[in-house]
Assembly symmetry: none
DNA sequence: AATTATTTGTGCGTATGTATC
DNA sequence: AGATACATACGCACAAATAAT
């Protein structure tokens, strides 16, 4: 009854055909393989093929013509501006996104645009769904914070489709490595990681644990900066003192990693955390274990969220100008929509990190 | 193959069912005869019945529910569905809105809708602009938190136009008095104000200052509850102990009001604040003046925001289930879009307030 | 101009899966 | 647990439109 992924046969066939259309494999005007051919190649009954095609026909992807065949529809590119701009983020509730969206909104509303908000829960599958949705709608532009930006982007074809339809898009906060040539607004996370590590080193720390997220741009970049600072100071990079986690692990892995280090007697005098959330959670954990911050261990965060300020031990962290991020992304998108090339751009794309020193680190 | 009129069997069956629905013979919510029953009464195969029903389902006349039956849908929309739903709030950044929007999103995304997000900065002029904008676009529905809901709504005509276009809308968080008969999801703010005042009275307070916002539903309602509690306890209502502020004053008026009371030697032993923000600001102010909370003055908030918990003196306040608010509003809108009347509604519209007792009040 | 092969459209029968009551 | 109802899937037959022979 169901295929290997648990989907109905007609459904997976439908999706396969849709993918071929969206990727340009089947171009507008092309004739789709006949029902009998499809039934043979996909090893399903003709009835199943018809069910799949009927969906595509209802969604406007194909037209069946009696006696001739089934044909791929040409997408009617409407030149009329909709004044809608899509904004896709991983989350909307989390601590930085409301302000990011606020920044985007403040710029775009002034220009008469409306925002279509979507979020992916940091799942690439969901991101693909959002993009498909946007392709069926009619938006003038797109601002996207990619999901798991350090994992290979499996829906490259959808971005290609955006290019074909000449819908400008801007990456914000992170970017897939394959897309580095596309417009984007990022923080200089390498420098951010570097600043934190250098600050800890300058305070006399020698055994600095690093906790990084493995599946996004920011995690990789901050790690890079951390390594650079260690190298400059002549401190050997110790893989045993680095904890990598991913989205699924974020609640458990960092604490487990530290627990394991303590058990294996791997000594450390500082912990450089991926962000404030991790740092705060870790501080609570260490407190329970009777380890004092910053007396015994210094800790740093990232993002300068409300947590950093209101935490029992105010957190040394990196400023994250959230509204500004959104504003810059919106401005860059406006430039793209106006057809302004990269050479003439006046929008800053790499935001300088700034160290915010509070009380979570002391001199050794 | 064809019936007496030369139409396909599935087609004539489909038309017959459609006629029954349009004539009111089959009413919204009614269960259509089962596929097997139809197949018998119309002397066609079940497959043919399914083909007819699938057309009606695609056109939005009926919905099939696995294991239950096929049900008649309400109003049939002639205008094509855009799958866009507008959400208009006063702010997007402020402490409760991200979670409200999250709640709305979680319900609507599951149903395949996209959200067009707009905010008014709590300005009615801006709200009118947003509504105009939405009328030019094509949305399937609207969730709106009205701006200054206690000020007379000057753009009544825009809501009338929504009615004319049969675009369903749901008020959330507040509502214009003129629209009380329209669908809405509110907190029982009268009861909330009552609970707080009663709590303070039960603790032995006799001179309770109230600070309320004059230009929205919540402020008026909470004030009403406050008055009710005083009356029940036989405490005379003293207008001199009530401070009213509006959106523009919110940063200054509450503090000024208290300052003035102190100068005029109007004594008080408790302050019931419009929300947590005001309460926190006031606590800082009183601390600067050397007045101790709760030793000298008890204070209450409203909304149970992060501020309430992390404040130096944890704040006694009223719980505000933010995601739930959004979810209920979204569900109510879905009901309206499906043409389900108020009588058959299953969505809760008045959320019970719940007192959260912390350390900002003590017995006198 | 008629025939034939191909392709979509209509229709029935059967079997099994799965959600709901 | 069993009955009911919708969902998926296969197979077959024939109709009607089209295109090529």
């Amino acid at each position: 009854m169901t295929d290997e992924k648990g989907r109905a046969k007609y459904y997976s066939l439908m999706e396969d055909l849709k993918k071929n259309i969206l990727s340009g494999n089947i171009k507008p005007g092309d004739r789709i393989a006949s029902e009998n051919q499809l039934s043979e190649t996909y090893h399903v009954s003709r009835h199943t093929v018809r069910k799949a095609l009927s969906i595509l026909e209802n969604e406007g992807f194909v037209v069946a013509e009696h006696g001739r065949g089934t044909f791929c529809m040409g997408r009617i590119k409407q030149n009329t501006k909709t004044n809608n701009i899509a904004v896709i983020t991983t989350y909307i509730n989390d601590y930085i996104f409301p302000r990011l969206i606020q920044g985007i909104d403040s710029v775009l509303t002034k220009e008469g645009y409306s925002i279509i908000l979507k979020n992916t829960g940091n799942l690439q599958k969901m991101e693909a769904k959002c993009l498909e949705d946007i392709l069926t709608k009619n938006v003038d532009g797109l601002i996207i914070e990619p999901s798991r930006s350090e994992v290979y982007c499996k829906h490259y074809n959808l971005y290609r489709m955006l290019d074909d339809l000449e819908i400008p898009y801007v990456f914000v906060q992170g970017i897939y490595p394959q897309f580095m040539n596309k417009p984007h607004v990022l923080m200089d996370d390498v420098k951010g990681g570097y600043l934190l590590a250098k600050y800890l080193i300058d305070l006399g720390h020698k055994e600095i644990v690093g906790i990084f997220k493995v599946d996004d741009y920011q995690g990789k970049a901050r790690h890079k900066g951390y390594v650079k600072a260690l190298q400059e100071a002549g401190i050997a990079y110790d893989p045993d003192r680095v904890i990598w986690f991913q989205t699924e692990d974020k609640e458990t892995k960092p604490l487990l990693g530290i627990k394991q280090m303590l058990r294996m007697n791997i000594h450390f005098d500082a912990i450089l955390c991926y962000n404030d959330q991790i740092a705060c959670k870790l501080m609570l954990y260490l407190k329970r274990l009777g380890i004092q911050v910053p007396q015994e261990v210094s800790i740093t965060g990232y993002d300068n969220s409300v947590l950093a300020e209101s935490s029992p031990v105010p957190l040394t962290t990196i400023a994250h100008p959230k509204e500004r991020f959104g504003e810059l992304a919106a401005k860059l998108l406006l430039e793209k929509m106006a057809g302004i090339g990269d050479e003439d751009s006046k929008v800053e794309r790499l935001i300088e990190p700034e160290l915010i020193i509070r009380q979570s680190c002391i001199k050794r």
